[in-house]
Amino acid sequence: MSVNHCITDEIRVTGEPLDVRALDSFVSADGVGGRAVFVGAVRDHNQGRCVHRIRYEAFVPMAERVLCEIVAEAHRRFVVERVAVHHRTGDLLVGEAAVVVAVGARHRGAAFDACRYVIDELKSRAPIWKKEFYDGGDCWVTPTP
């Protein structure tokens, strides 16, 4: 993890509901001309089955550490000013936000690219799992590309 970025970044894995506007505000600054905000939400279906809710489980200290590494990488790869990532744990209903990635940059290109980089890397590296609950069953989700 890069300590240098702690002042300009906000990273958390939490059981509390996510606040998209707060993260958007966090990445706002006078030098920021473009903000990209990605929100991942619980979908009502997956692979042909109706999903009622999803339970997210995380190895919280390691997940936050991995997210710090990913955000530090984003700063090295793209010209961005501020990055914020919050991921939810616990039981979420359809429509609730599971993850928010917000990036503030001077220009839109870097904001979009960094936002995409962070969510893609989060999905492949952060120790976070989800269990979907259907009619008459549940299942730990295996990753999708």
Partner: protein
């Protein structure tokens, strides 16, 4: 070296936690134990882990490591089944 024993703390998550039935376990390993030999020991203790083994990643003290990684006394070893955040 190899005759000495060391205790490590093993953490289980998601599907592997359900297979094992608890989220934490203390395991005594040889002084020259690797992550791979720890997995051997865990799979013989919990045969239900065996089908999960090919898809597991392992983190020691919150960083991903290779199977050849040497363990040290007091290490916290997390079995990481396929992740699905986001």
């Amino acid at each position: 070296m190899g005759d000495q024993r060391a205790m490590v703390d093993v953490l289980f998550f998601a599907g592997t936690r359900e297979v094992v039935g608890h989220e934490r376990e203390q395991v005594e390993v040889r002084g020259d134990a690797t992550v791979s030999s720890l997995l051997d020991a865990l799979c013989s203790r919990h045969p239900g882990l065996e089908p999960h083994r090919p898809s597991l990643r392992v983190a020691v003290n919150e960083s991903y490591v290779e199977l050849s990684h040497l363990l040290a006394a007091g290490d916290e070893v997390a079995l990481i089944p396929p992740v699905a955040g986001g």
